[in-house]
């Protein structure tokens, strides 16, 4: 087996424990554990149990509909899909965006980063971090945080609200707006909207700084736990600006090996398939991407998202966030950048960066401009890549001469992190569960590891007719009587 604990060598008669659904994440997933008689862990898998199929049913739709349709993948970061699809369709219509259009889209995107990171940290993860992983489950939730730490909870709620307001003013609605269209945007900010948002920019920066200090303090106070929990080594990938700076809206692809050497840098994402490929496994609806040059998902899997972005960029182009990045990178000889719980620290640094970018954009007169649309030479293919809150998001479409989408490929942030999340929970299973009597608190350790990645499971399952499936006929005594499998090329086979 390529991965330890992915598949038990003798699954018969093992005890099965399922965590279903995984809570405080977006979408539906479950974790299964197979244990022997002594409670030693033999198999751990994160399964994505829902199926969405957007890649298939978007075929035949007109291209201008796609940025609005695909954002229905998600209710948490729909802006990411809205913008990634818009960027792909910008290529299709041959447009180079006007300054107003690009800055409005950036404002929308950084508003999205702010609200999504606030939601993830305060609403979903802070109960684990503030109360303890195996604390009283009745209090380990956002209601418990509001009761015990009302000031922290209030900041989280209001940071999210501010980000949502930015989205509403740029996209038309807080969730599932229509502001970004192929070739530009359909509105800029009015002077009143700009003034309203400007009132709170410095408060948002201050609260974001507080959040960075909070996670930093938690990391320092619980260093052994935070630095070792679910720790594993992985390659990484993200977008960076031409000068190496963090840029969550646009850039070239940068990938780094787990040992620190560069795998590729400033790679033109419009040919992402030259460096990334996808694998499939019979037990998950989610694909397993890998670096093509490394041959397979066994060796070429990688990690994306805030931790990777903060570690891989050369600097953050806003002063407060860059200072925090330097501290994070230098913390404990740089080891925090490889810690699974380091995701939360990196996430808060990015939230601070987003707040600073928002302030700068709101001081730029272009966001009230009237030049909203551009066009150019029509093309048959478009690729849009963006750094969504959870990591690199790739949208790829082919459009025929009648303006209909004839092929779509979406590689979603959580999909990139598929193997990484499985690695994290296997490490945690070995660290905390192996050989012990399982309790809710211990099982929550598995969920804590998953939550670090802020996964959006509902975003990540699209391919139709490509999944290998296995059907097993099991007798009353548990013996497998028959088995049939469908491989990824759609042919059926019996062993």
């Amino acid at each position: 087996m390529p991965f330890e604990l992915e598949t038990a060598s003798h699954p018969k008669n093992l005890k099965r424990v399922a965590i279903e659904p995984v809570s405080r994440v977006e979408g539906h997933g479950k974790v299964t554990l197979l244990l022997d008689d002594d409670n030693h862990v033999q198999q751990v898998r994160l399964h994505i149990t829902e199926f969405r199929g957007f890649e298939k049913f978007i075929e035949g739709r007109p291209y201008w509909e796609v940025p609005v349709m695909v954002q229905r993948l998600c209710g948490i970061c729909p802006v990411s899909h809205h913008l990634a699809a818009s960027k792909a369709m910008d290529m299709v219509v041959g447009a180079t965006l006007t300054p107003t259009a690009e800055k409005i889209r950036r404002l929308m995107h950084y508003g999205q980063i702010l609200q999504s990171h606030a939601l993830h940290f305060f609403h979903l993860s802070s109960p684990d971090l503030l109360f303890g992983f195996d604390s009283d489950v009745a209090k380990r939730n956002i209601v418990g945080v509001i009761a015990a730490h009302p000031e922290i909870a209030k900041k989280g709620v209001l940071l999210r609200k501010y980000g949502q307001e930015i989205i509403r003013m740029t996209a038309g609605k807080r969730v599932h707006g229509t502001g970004s269209i192929p070739g530009g945007v359909n509105k800029s900010l009015t002077a009143e909207e700009r003034a309203t948002l400007q009132q709170d920019t410095y408060q948002m920066i201050a609260w974001s700084r507080d959040a960075v200090q909070l996670i930093k303090k938690l990391f320092e106070q619980n260093f052994e736990l935070y630095n070792s929990f679910g720790r594993f080594s992985a390659h990484g990938m993200c977008l960076v600006r031409a000068d190496g700076a963090m840029d969550l809206y646009h850039g070239g692809l940068r990938a780094r090996h787990a040992d620190g050497r560069s795998l590729f840098d400033h790679f033109d994402y419009s040919r992402y398939w030259d460096v990334i490929s996808e694998d499939v496994k019979s037990w998950s609806y989610m694909k397993f991407p890998f670096f093509k040059a490394m041959g397979s998902s066994d060796t070429g899997w990688y990690r994306v998202g805030p931790l990777t972005r903060v570690a891989l960029c050369d600097f953050i182009p806003t002063p407060l966030a860059d200072k925090e990045r330097s501290e994070f990178i230098g913390f404990a000889n740089g080891t925090a950048t490889g810690a699974t719980l380091g995701y939360h620290w990196a996430l808060m640094i990015e939230m601070l960066h987003a707040a600073e970018v928002i302030k700068d954009l709101l001081h730029d007169d272009d966001i009230c401009g009237s030049e909203l649309m551009a066009s150019g030479k029509r093309r048959g293919r478009g690729v849009g890549v963006i750094e969504a809150p959870r990591g690199t998001l790739i949208h790829h479409y082919r459009v025929d001469e009648n303006d209909q989408v004839i092929r779509a490929n979406l590689i979603v942030s959580t999909t990139h992190n598929n193997q990484a999340m499985n690695e994290a929970i296997r490490v945690v299973a070995k660290q905390y569960l192996d050989g012990r009597e399982l309790t809710e608190g211990l099982l929550n350790h598995i969920e804590v590891a998953i939550r670090c990645f802020d996964p959006c499971l509902s975003c990540a399952t699209h391919a139709l007719g490509k999944m290998p499936l296995e059907v097993v006929l099991v007798g009353a005594d548990g013996t497998a009587l028959d088995r049939i499998t469908r491989n990824m090329h759609d042919s059926l086979a019996a062993p």
Partner: protein
């Protein structure tokens, strides 16, 4: 006001001119009666049944019933509103109406009437008919998924454009809109974006290409006020202006 030129609609006296229907008289008086297949520039069709009212206690379509003096017309009653809501719910499951990603959202009369009449959840099982999009025309997209068989495009193409581009085919639940060409494709007709038939679809079937979502949320036709507040847009045109 003399008795000979008015009728009563929900306790309100509605004047009318000779030849006007109940619907026309009501709209002219600023009273909205929900409708889909009625259009002020075309002869009434009476097929969507949404404008059904009770006239002297008997159900009738208000767009096809001539106004008469002394009529007692009920429209805005719980019973009739419930019937209209049911009609809308049936229309919504007979086609594929995905408002979240439809570019006609905010401009669509079916959607606006859904809001107006309080259609808040599906009531019947969705039929999910298979209706491929016709994107063959360089300027116009036909998305048959949203067709409600109002025949406005057929009437406009026939009576105004003189092109006979559209027709209905099939019977009963299988009835559907077709394009009058050997290939069945719009590209093989003389249809033009400037045609009247391209302007009258109350839902999202006939769409100008590459224009979707250009109007921001908040500025779309029915964003600021419900469809009933747009009653002036449906007022009858002068008889001579009608085809």
């Amino acid at each position: 006001m003399s008795e000979s030129s008015s009728f009563i609609l929900d306790d309100q006296e509605i004047p009318f001119m000779p030849g006007q229907s109940v619907m026309q008289a009501a709209l002219a008086a600023g009273v909205f009666i929900p409708h889909l297949c009625y259009h002020p520039e075309f002869r009434p069709h009476g097929s969507c049944k949404l404008c059904t009212v009770k006239i002297n206690g008997r159900p009738a379509t208000s767009c096809t019933t001539p106004a008469a003096a002394g009529m007692e017309v009920e429209s805005n009653t719980p019973e009739i509103l419930d019937k209209r809501r049911t009609l809308l719910q049936m229309l919504l499951v007979e086609g594929n109406h995905f408002c979240p990603s439809c570019e006609k959202s905010g401009f669509c009369m079916l959607q606006a009437l859904g809001y107006e009449l309080g259609v808040v959840a599906p009531r019947f099982s969705l039929l999910y008919p298979a209706r491929p999009v016709d994107a063959s025309h360089p300027d116009v997209l036909l998305d048959f998924n949203r067709c409600i068989l109002c025949e406005l495009c057929i009437r406009a193409s026939t009576e105004v454009d003189g092109k006979f581009v559209f027709a209905l085919s099939g019977r009963g639940i299988k009835k559907h809109l077709v394009v009058n060409a050997e290939s069945g494709k719009l590209a093989d007709t003389n249809f033009s974006l400037a045609d009247k038939a391209a302007q009258v679809c109350p839902v999202g079937v006939i769409l100008p290409k590459r224009k979707g979502f250009a109007v921001p949320i908040g500025q779309r036709r029915f964003d600021a006020a419900p469809i009933s507040a747009h009653v002036d847009e449906f007022k009858p045109v002068a008889p001579g202006e009608r085809p």
